[in-house]
């Protein structure tokens, strides 16, 4: 019983951490159809910016914000100078963003070096209820992730901007005929995606080693989250995908080794896609 409860808590926390890591990708992929292979690099940049700011003496919370804004600005540059010229060519954007990933990783190595860096945990310790252990910082990250998801939901479904974005997703041509500035809206979505990716990288950095490959760990998993959840299902899809890819691993690891659990999870993702090719929330 106690184990069941602590497994539940663990998998909930992981689900939200994964959702946060994948959300930037889900926004860009789901709303714009741009396959952002540079997502991993954006996470890495977020982590490095946080490391850089905290080492320079900036407190943790402003560092996270700085990192997210910094990555958002880089996203803006990338969108303005490159991506916007290729919106109707998904294959080219895939290659371009992959190029962005490679270049960024090498630049990170040159600028920050390849040594292992650490961002100190700003909320050390854990809250213990009997056998259930809630690591304080991870719980905070999960909560932030939930808040961002709720905020995004409000933005998409309760504001005029949300209506515009959804109109764009449904039918870009019709939306533009009705006077919607497509270029600007795409730009805002892409920058928001980059901002969220930077924020995720920043928030994840105290839990992991900051190295030039930190984003890669999450890149493949994020793609699975988005595809399993269903492209375009930015909120519910991301959550369900995160549970299947992240949370369920904790469940499977109860009965088998970690290696087997990870294999089962990815196999399960493939099975889901076989029978629901458009993601778990969509039937085609």
């Amino acid at each position: 019983m106690n184990t069941a409860l602590s497994v539940l808590v663990d998998s909930t926390l992981i689900t939200f951490v994964f959702a946060l890591a994948a959300l930037g990708l889900a926004v860009v992929f789901g709303l714009m159809g741009v396959i952002n292979m540079g997502h991993g690099a954006m996470l890495t940049l977020g982590a490095y910016f946080t490391w850089f700011a905290t080492t320079a003496g900036v407190p943790f919370a402003p560092s996270v914000l700085l990192a997210a804004v910094g990555v958002g600005m880089i996203g803006l540059g990338l969108e303005h100078f490159v991506i916007r010229h290729f919106y109707d060519r998904p294959f080219e954007t895939l290659l371009l963003t992959w190029g962005f990933f490679l270049i960024t990783t090498e630049i990170i190595k040159i600028v920050f070096g390849t040594d292992l860096r650490t961002v100190e945990n700003p909320l050390p310790g854990a809250i213990v209820f009997g056998t259930v252990v809630l690591p304080a910082y991870k719980s905070m990250v999960a909560l932030t992730s939930l808040l961002i998801l709720v905020g995004l939901a409000l933005l998409l479904f309760r504001t005029t901007l949300g209506i515009k974005i959804r109109a764009l997703v449904q039918n870009a041509e019709a939306a533009s005929l009705l006077g919607l500035n497509i270029g600007l809206t795409y730009k805002m979505v892409f920058v928001a995606g980059a901002f969220i990716a930077g924020l995720a990288g920043a928030l994840i950095s105290p839990m992991l080693s900051v190295d030039p490959y930190i984003g890669n760990i999450f890149l493949v998993r994020s793609f699975f989250v988005v595809i399993v959840g269903g492209i375009g299902q930015v909120l519910a899809g991301t959550l369900i995908g995160s549970f299947l890819i992240g949370g369920s691993e904790t469940l499977f690891a109860l009965f088998s080794g970690q290696v087997v659990a990870q294999t089962i999870v990815f196999a399960l993702a493939i099975v889901v896609l076989r029978f629901r090719p458009a993601g778990i929330l969509r039937t085609r």
């Binding site: 292992l116 945990n121 252990v133 105290p206 992991l208 930190i214 760990i217 992240g246 970690q258």
Partner: protein, 421 residues
């Protein structure tokens, strides 16, 4: 479709023809030049050593000390006039932390660069990849890393007469400290490691000794590389009621696991004993996360002896005052000096001469104190230190405090089909 497939076939065959031609030409060249001509032409030139280091890729963090140790050794030898009147020249090959690339680099260094012998490779997987290459080309490989010991099953990566082990194996790194650890902290072990050969075989040997002192393993877990979340692992450890966590995770996974372990407040409830986290990784962990952990190796920068002090002075003069050294870098340093000593003793640079003269060779000036290459199984006899990571350390100078040490630990014989190698 048809034309396309035709085209592919044509290119393919053209390519393979070219390749065969090149290979043929290369072979003829070698066989023509082989005995007299080539050797006399090279007599005046430097002795060439192929250095295979993980300079990029996942284990770059370890690569710096790895190559720096060897470079320092070679610099010292050359400054003293070289060996047999010849300088030593290093030809570097980057393994990119991939066994596949190790094979490419080893082949390139041997066939194209005509190196006299090889030094390096980092992980056991890399060494095992280099095994077949050095066997077929009959070249010596000097291997520096702490590793899982030699078992016939993993031939030609181990139990290979051409491969010399300069780092400690479990019966040197783990066994000497088992009694101290179990007596002080309890006999229940939880083993967590990365999922590859080194952690698995190291744990196998550790279990042998643990059984001998009456201990038991209450959990054993192998983690795939690049795992971000350790919640289920931490829960299993918590529920196992273990006394000691025996830790063989590597690279960034070490950092990821240890950060989450400390964040969950578990460092207060368990003793952690790691056989992976030398100066570089412990620096990466930072003082808060690493404090209180037990670490065992043959060498630490904090070791107090005249050899080490002189060594660190030279090392810092060349690589800067903040540069990090570790067991692997020191093994590379010893490998450079000992190969030079062996060549000097032999009076010539051939694989046979190097092999024969490395056997039972001692090196007095090793940073960890006198070391000897055991001839029977090409395994170095080394000291063994158990250290504890100090609370609130500020740098490598005060990172580790000594718990106990043995000046010279003789490992059990390699488990190879036939000894001596």
């Amino acid at each position: 479709m048809r034309t396309k497939s035709n085209l592919t076939i044509t290119t393919c065959s053209r390519r393979s023809v070219l390749k065969n031609l090149a290979l043929g030409a290369g072979l003829t060249g070698v066989s023509l030049a082989a005995p007299g001509i080539l050797r006399s032409a090279r007599a005046e030139g430097p002795i060439k050593v192929g250095l295979i280091s993980p300079l990029t890729g996942a284990w770059t963090v370890y690569g710096k000390a790895h190559s720096a140790g060897f470079e320092l050794g070679v610099d010292e030898i050359n400054a003293a006039g070289g060996v047999l009147g010849r300088k030593i020249e290093i030809v570097v090959g980057d393994s990119r932390t991939e066994p596949r690339i190790v094979v490419e680099q080893a082949n390139r260094l041997i066939r194209q660069e005509n190196v006299d012998f090889l030094a390096g490779t980092f992980s056991s997987a890399e060494r095992n990849a280099a095994g077949p290459v050095v066997t077929s080309a009959n070249k010596v490989l000097l291997y520096p890393t702490f590793y899982e010991g030699q078992e016939q099953e993993y031939f030609p990566g181990v139990c290979n007469k051409n491969i010399f082990m300069f780092g400690p194996e479990p019966t040197q790194q783990v066994w000497p400290h088992m009694e101290h650890m179990t007596k002080n902290f309890g006999k229940k072990f939880f083993m967590i490691g990365s999922d590859y050969v080194w952690p698995r075989v190291t744990n196998k040997f550790t279990k042998e000794k643990l059984k001998e002192v009456g201990g038991e393993v209450v959990g054993e877990l192998y983690i795939p590389f690049n795992t971000p979340q350790y919640d289920s692992a931490l829960r299993q450890i918590r529920e196992s009621k273990a006394n000691i966590i025996f830790h063989t995770l590597t690279g960034s996974d070490t950092v990821n696991f240890r950060k989450q372990y400390v964040a969950a407040g578990m460092n207060k409830d368990f003793v952690l004993w790691t056989v992976d986290d030398e100066e570089v990784v412990t620096s990466g962990l930072g003082p808060d996360v690493s404090a209180g952990a037990y670490v065992s190796f043959d060498y630490f920068m904090t070791i107090k002896n005249p050899n080490n002090e002189a060594f660190l002075k030279r090392f810092r003069a060349k690589f800067g005052k903040d540069a990090l050294m570790n067991t692997v870098g020191v093994a590379m340093y010893n490998a450079a000096h000992m190969s030079a000593l062996a060549i000097k003793k032999a009076g010539k640079v051939t694989t046979d001469a190097l092999r024969e003269n490395l056997k039972d060779l001692s090196f007095e000036m090793a940073p960890q104190g006198k070391v000897t290459m055991r001839g029977r199984d090409n395994q170095m006899v080394l000291p063994s230190y158990l250290m504890k990571v100090r609370q609130g350390w500020t740098g490598v100078g005060d990172m580790f405090e000594e718990v106990q040490h043995f000046d010279s630990v003789t490992p059990v014989d390699a488990r190879c089909k036939s000894l001596p190698l």
